[in-house]
């Protein structure tokens, strides 16, 4: 039915099957949209946030998707600027994941503000001292860069590419992609950092406050570093999921091993810096403000020392080591374990830097504040995930996302690519759930 749109030579599942899957995920999207509508109509009272918890689940989700979505920036940087050619096999997919993550981040920010119609004030009346201004600037423009990087891939759709203008446009955009990639790299560096700065500059909150290097708190660098360290984990994880669902090998082992190796070294170096930062904070910064570090991990139902251990050791040091060593890195099971731990680790770090910061009492007579998100919050947080699944499914079906797909799956058929293939019934389910 839609075979004219499917890339030449690619095998995809049948039209009804695909759209049945999309419909299931689409229902989740509708649920999220309903919650979003409720929040815009009735206001943020639809959430369980309160005056103690001004930042909550959304901001965590925002920080988390940006951290794991850093892949587009680093792949672009490494491929276009450092000329690591091997990454061409993953760059399209990394860009799509990045596009999903950043559009989700912007969407969450748009839901999160109390007066959405005034959102433009952040640009028009910008306060240059605020980390959030920097976040908004870089986030928006970086999203623009991602869109620009994504467009050529969209225009490579079989039908779109037949239009002469689109064909030339995609060609020209590829030609100067290095400029866009460089702009994106600069923007991305600053906003990954400024997201860390958001918590690091709050000197009224000793749990998140960090000493500064000039105007930048240490968390600024730690966030950039961690995003650079953990993005391959997420990119690989999503690739793995896509491969499992489609039942095809989509990215070659060489590329996977390279990404894992990058992740291993980056995670290890990051986690060493993070441990040093934590020790310095626990022994110098916090005590200078009158706090023993254990204060932040006691007298409450959730935030115990286990959290620190999980973040730093279990989901930091362990995946780092697993990915550095060649034997474990090239063992697909252990590699999968490592990348899952890595993704959990970076998400946990963002959780701690948003929710634990709000939960810790600062005034001696104050109490811990814990909160449970409302269904509206959860629905709007799951919304981007569902939307991401749909977008990945659509792009996989209609765009030439994985350049290695042919050679990895149908090496013998390579000669017969121009034969239009309608998916046979026996085809595995294509990217839906």
């Amino acid at each position: 039915m839609d075979s004219a749109l499917i890339p030449e030579g690619a095998k995809r599942c049948s039209f009804p099957k695909f759209y049945m899957g999309i419909a299931v995920v689409g229902a989740v999207v509708l649920w999220g949209l309903l919650a979003w509508g409720l929040i815009y109509w009735k206001g943020l009272n639809q959430t369980n946030m309160n005056d103690y918890y001004g930042f909550a689940l959304w901001i965590w989700a925002d920080l988390a998707v940006i951290a794991v979505g850093g892949g587009a920036f680093f792949t672009g940087l490494l491929k276009y600027i450092f000329k690591i050619d091997e990454l061409k096999n993953i760059i399209n997919f990394a860009v799509i994941i990045g596009f999903i993550c950043y559009s989700s981040a912007l969407l969450i920010l748009a839901i999160d503000i109390g007066q959405p119609l005034r959102g433009w004030f952040i640009f028009w009346h910008a306060n240059v001292h605020s980390m959030l201004t920097e976040v908004a600037f870089c986030l928006s423009f970086y999203f623009a860069v991602l869109t620009i990087e994504f467009i050529p891939n969209i225009l490579e759709n079989r039908q779109a590419n037949k239009v002469s203008f689109f064909h030339h446009l995609a060609h020209n955009m590829h030609g100067i992609m290095v400029i866009f990639a460089a702009t994106g790299a600069a923007l991305s560096f600053f906003h990954q950092g400024s997201l860390g700065g958001v918590a690091g500059v709050m000197f009224g909150r000793p749990f998140s406050f960090r000493e500064h290097l000039n105007i930048w708190p240490y968390t600024f660098f730690l966030f950039t570093w961690s995003a650079a360290a953990f993005w391959p984990c997420f990119t690989l994880l999503v690739t793995k999921i896509t491969e499992t669902i489609t039942g095809k090998k989509l990215v070659g082992d060489k590329t996977v091993h390279l990404l894992s190796k990058i992740a291993g070294w980056m995670i290890t170096s990051y986690i060493i810096a993070k441990i040093i930062d934590t020790i310095y904070w626990a022994t110098v910064t916090a005590p200078s403000l009158g706090f023993k570090w254990t204060h932040f991990y006691s007298n409450n139902a959730l935030y115990g020392k286990w959290m620190l251990f999980t973040e730093l050791i279990l989901c930091g040091v362990l995946p780092g080591v697993l990915l550095i060593m060649k034997s474990t890195r090239e063992n697909s099971k252990l590699r999968l374990l490592a990348i899952i731990l890595g993704v959990i680790g970076v998400c946990l770090n963002r959780w701690v830097m948003v929710l634990q910061v709000m939960a810790v009492p600062v005034m001696p007579f104050d109490t811990w504040a814990l909160y449970i998100p409302s269904w509206q919050e959860m629905a709007t947080t799951i919304l981007p995930v569902a939307y991401g699944i749909i977008l990945i499914a659509l792009t996989y079906r209609y765009l030439p996302v994985f350049p290695q797909e042919q050679e990895l799956n149908y090496p013998v058929e390579e000669e017969a690519v121009d034969e239009p293939v309608v998916a046979p019934a026996a085809e595995p389910v294509a990217a839906t759930e």
């Binding site: 910008a126 240059v128 100067i176």
Partner: protein, 53 residues
Amino acid sequence: MLPFCFEWVWDLGHVLFIGGLLFAPIGILGAGLTYCAVKAAYETINDSGESHH
């Protein structure tokens, strides 16, 4: 924020921050896209008769 409004201050912070993170990206991305689009339009028109080997 534009440099003509009263909230603008001519200091390093504003020039670097607003200039570098607002106007520079807008300029680079805008110019880049315009270049691509114009060139593509030009090529499309020129293409019609001949192919460009």
